[in-house]
């Protein structure tokens, strides 16, 4: 038998269905791995008794005749999703120990499908960052090289799946926070269409961009879980009212005749030769499978970074206003009047990056600057969306790099926020357009750290996107490679 933590979701499902293992055994296996890899700092809150109780409940459901592809399968949630049974902190001091009275819709749906939660995953504070160094609870380490960042903001999700501490992790993507860490950590990441997963219970960063998604070991695994996760939620006004979708239905569709658009702007200066050759090699693989590679141009996409760093901080400056120390969260011990209490609580509770973005956001929304920044950014955002729509007349999916290169060292970019912001150069345009996107492992950089291939499709084309990724993974083994020791350990 394969080691449990190397098995696919489908394999685990078969083992559970046949009774060869119980969910409690499986959960114990992964909890032991979580415990054994605390050096990665991927988890912020682990409560084994609660996880095992959920696993026991899944086993009882199965015993009573229930089945389902996810019943009894463990996962872990990014600490942006609120949970009743684990603290929900958004990796901020502000929410240290905060217990939510309700579960996020994503958490609830996956729980209803029978998935067992192993705990909460570290991330950048309020999902703001590209390296997971902005967590108030310390950086997450990349399982491929503990000197390297795992990417961010969903760094805990990426590292946990890379080290096979859990088979599935939820994550969120605002400007690249799923795809970039998936690439840096060598796992498969998917950000669905904005509006398809519910935002209810996601601690908001930038409401018009925040999208829940997944990190898994493969596109096939992601497809199985995504089907249970997506769907209309009346509690989220921006949720799209479409019938539920079976995301595995296009996994086996061949890519022969598929038109893959490759934006030439994504291959300009800044892209490392290794990243470029890995992506080109992946495109060759697709060509070999009968796909057609189409040269496309996305000239406006290069404005994505400035647009994003107006829109996202603007929304964040408002979304983070509720953290005032009045009703919950951190409250300063020594303070003067009410206004002073709010000021001090925020000064103490929020980290440097949220503060930086609040300042930027308040500035671009302020009287006299709104038209020049916020309104202008919204206009360019619309143009970027239109540009993608034109591109999708020429091609079915768009492919390119996720990042300019492999993961950098912890501390390498912390002094230069703009250099950090540029990490999301290739992922931000798709986020601004609300498009589904993926990162699929496609090679390694000069220091042996993973690289990712980005795939984007038009709105609501998650199933197609997953199929395109799966066809690649059927003929390559990048996604099967694990960091040193992962395959050898048990747990």
């Amino acid at each position: 038998m394969t080691q449990l933590h190397l098995a696919s979701v489908a394999e685990l499902g078969r083992l559970l269905a046949s009774g060869e293992i119980s969910s409690v055994e499986l959960t114990r296996h992964f909890l032991a791995r979580v415990e054994a890899h605390r050096e990665l700092n991927a988890f912020l809150d682990v409560r084994p008794e609660t996880s095992l109780a959920q696993a026991a409940a899944a086993d009882r459901r199965r015993a009573s005749g229930e089945s389902g592809p996810l019943l009894g399968i463990p996962l872990a949630h990014k600490d942006i999703f609120v949970t009743r049974d684990w603290a929900s902190t958004a990796a901020s001091r502000m929410l240290e120990g905060y217990m939510s009275p309700f579960d996020a819709t994503v958490v609830e749906r996956l729980g209803q499908a029978g998935m067992v939660c192993l705990g909460k995953l570290n991330c950048d504070e309020f999902a703001m960052g590209s390296s997971n160094e902005n967590s108030a609870y310390g950086p997450v380490r990349n399982p491929w090289d503990v000197k390297a960042v795992p990417g961010g903001s969903s760094g805990g999700s990426a590292a946990a799946v890379a080290a096979r501490l859990c088979p599935v992790a939820t994550a969120t993507d605002t400007g690249g926070s799923i795809r970039e860490p998936a690439a840096f950590s060598g796992v498969t990441g998917i950000k669905p269409t904005y509006g398809r997963p519910s935002r209810w219970g996601m601690i908001a960063f930038a409401s018009s961009l925040d999208t829940a998604g997944l990190m898994t070991a493969s596109a096939e695994d992601a497809a199985a879980v995504l089907s249970a996760m997506l769907g209309f939620d009346p509690k989220d006004s921006t949720s799209v009212d479409r019938p539920p979708e079976d995301c595995i239905r296009e996994l086996d569709r061949p890519v022969a005749g598929l038109r893959i658009g490759v934006p030439r702007e994504f291959f300009g200066k800044g892209l490392t030769p290794e990243a470029e050759s890995a992506v080109r090699a992946a495109l060759d693989t697709y060509r070999g499978l009968g796909a057609e590679i189409v040269d496309i141009s996305l000239p406006t996409a290069s404005l994505g970074i400035p647009v994003y760093y107006v829109v996202a901080p603007a929304e964040a400056s408002s979304n983070l206003s509720r953290f005032d120390g009045v009703r919950y969260g951190h409250r300063a011990k020594n303070h003067g009047d009410l206004a002073d209490m709010i000021k001090r609580s925020r000064a103490e509770g929020l980290g440097a990056e949220p503060k930086r973005r609040i300042l930027i956001g308040a500035y671009v929304l302020s009287h006299g600057y709104y038209d020049a920044y916020y309104l202008q950014a919204q206009k360019v955002r619309r143009l970027i969306g239109e540009e993608f729509q034109r591109a999708f007349q020429q091609c079915d999916v768009i492919a390119g790099p996720v990042t300019t290169g492999e993961a950098f060292d912890i501390g390498a970019k912390t002094a230069d926020p703009v250099a950090m912001y540029l990490e999301d150069l290739f992922t931000i345009p798709g986020s601004l357009a609300g498009l589904p996107g993926m990162s699929v492992p496609c090679g390694f950089g000069p220091r042996g750290r993973p690289l990712g291939l980005q795939l984007m499709a038009n709105h609501f084309q998650e199933a197609r996107l997953l199929g395109v990724a799966h066809q690649f993974q059927k003929v390559t083994d990048w996604h099967r490679r694990t960091p040193a020791g992962v395959a050898a350990t048990n747990p």
Binding site: M202, A206, K235, S237, S318
Partner: protein, 477 residues
């Protein structure tokens, strides 16, 4: 030097929805603090707003009632500022595109009809309440009111006196209750006004610098605050100073306004469209369904009462001052179609006086329209005199029974029988020879004294007109 005051009002009407504008929590008044604040009202991490369509319904109803444009697409924006009783750190309101644009309010002022144009009406959520008094060295926060739906109705600066401002506010108050979008309870803060006040020399075409007086929650305070503010501004200018644009608070205990904040420290609210809410799309069908459910509006009713019932403009206005009043009147007239004036007089007179004296609403009056109709019918057919009818009414108010029962029990039936009356008159003439003599010598006053004596002898039950006629005949007049 004569001065003109220019006033615009911003009125907050709390909409009568059962639940809040963006959450399912109850809007009922008077619960234990924070008992009606759910996760959304508390702005817990991860919550999202969902618009209550009932609030939009009510905004459309107002828009239709004031002849405004209902915007097919309106936008909710965030108004950002920090305050302990503002849980999200922003208020969801409408900024650039409100749900209602334009319209006007018509109302009588003295003998004139005034028209005040409306700028807009927009939906927003209310904040909570800070309680500073009950806690030593601390403040309490009650978020029951947080998220309550408000319609802010903004007038153009068309108002030219404090009295006109009050008349406008009263007309608007009556209207929102009439169309059943707001309970109008001013003590509970369901209807409150901000007044923008400026003064200018008579004949000037440019407006003066204005001050905004916040949170006036009674018509009396509205009037006093404007009067005071006018006087303050005029005195300031006449003394060579100038008005500074600012927000002021009216202190009813001292009867003065005082500065709250100046324009310079006015906050930058950093408005932007709320990304958690889609634009409000209002279809033609939605508007039509609201229109179909609209009651007849006061003005239409007023005109109909004048036309169909021959009421004077004044009577028609009084009788349509509220929907309850108009309904009561119509129920009366339905039973006494030939006596609309009698119905109006009793409603405006006896009934309103009793309600006023006892401080109760028409809905809770012990004499219902059907019961009063029974009494008015007896006046109309001459069975009871107008004077004795008041006694019957008082007895009905005290719950002693129907008009007929009381008339019979107390023997108040009017004497219209000629034989009976003649006997009474003969007795009076015999006993008042002196008055008869005076009358015959030309003193008309003596006649009235004799009528009085007959009425007295009949204990007020004699039909006065008949007494008059018979007496004149007997005296040979």
């Amino acid at each position: 030097m004569s001065w003109e005051v220019v006033i615009g009002l911003e009125t907050h009407a709390q909409l009568s929805t059962v639940s809040k504008i963006f959450s399912g929590a109850s809007t009922a008044f008077g619960a234990e603090p924070n008992a009606q604040a759910c996760a959304i009202d508390l702005a817990l991490p991860g919550v999202l707003p969902v618009l209550n369509r009932g609030a939009v319904d009510r905004a459309i109803r107002l828009g239709l009632a004031v002849g405004a444009t209902i915007n097919r697409r309106s936008i909710f924006a965030r108004k950002n500022y920090f305050y302990p009783d503002l849980p999200k750190g922003y208020q969801i309101s409408q900024y650039e595109i409100p749900v209602v644009s334009g319209g006007h309010i018509r109302f009588p002022l003295g003998d004139e009809e005034k028209v005040v144009r409306l700028t807009r009406a927009h939906l927003e959520e209310d904040a909570g309440k800070s309680l500073h008094e009950d806690f030593q060295g601390m403040s309490g926060i009650d978020l029951n009111r947080a998220g309550t739906p408000l319609l802010e109705i903004v007038s153009e600066p068309d108002i030219r006196s404090a009295a006109e401002a009050v008349a406008y506010a009263k007309a608007l108050h009556a209207l929102v209750r009439w169309i059943d979008i707001c309970d109008g309870n001013m003590q509970e803060g369901s209807f409150r006004c901000d007044a923008n006040v400026s003064v200018r020399r008579a004949g000037d075409t440019k407006f003066g610098t204005r001050c905004e007086i916040k949170n006036l929650n009674s018509f009396r305070f509205l009037e006093r605050a404007i009067e005071h503010e006018m006087a303050r501004q005029i005195e300031l200018i006449e003394d060579g100073g100038h008005v500074v644009q600012e927000t002021r608070l009216y202190d009813p205990d001292r009867d003065e306004t005082r500065s709250m904040r100046s324009k310079e420290d006015a906050q930058d609210y950093r408005y932007f469209p709320d990304p958690d809410l889609l634009p409000v799309e209002i279809s033609e069908q939605w508007i039509e369904s609201v229109r179909a459910a609209m009651p007849e509006l006061p003005q239409a009713k007023r005109e109909r009462f004048e036309r169909d019932f021959g009421l004077s403009a004044y009577d028609a206005a009084v009788v349509t001052a509220s929907r309850e009043m108009a309904d009561y009147f119509e129920a009366l007239v339905a039973r006494l179609p030939s006596e609309p004036k009698l119905c109006a007089n009793w409603l405006m007179g006896e009934v309103s006086a009793r309600l006023n004296r006892e401080q109760i609403d028409l809905a809770r009056a012990p004499v219902a329209a059907t019961a009063l109709a029974g009494l008015l019918a007896r006046i109309a057919d001459g069975m009871v005199s107008g004077k004795l009818a008041r006694e019957v009414f008082d007895a009905m108010w005290s719950g002693e029974g129907t008009a007929d029962e009381i008339i019979d029990r107390r023997g108040l039936r009017q004497i219209s029988d000629s034989g009976e009356l003649e006997t009474l008159i003969d007795g009076v003439l015999a006993a008042n020879a002196k008055s008869v003599e005076e009358f015959r010598s030309g003193k008309e006053k003596a006649f009235n004294a004799l009528v009085g004596q007959v009425m007295k002898a009949s204990k007020g039950k004699a039909n006065p007109q008949q007494v008059n006629d018979l007496l004149r005949k007997k005296l040979g007049g």
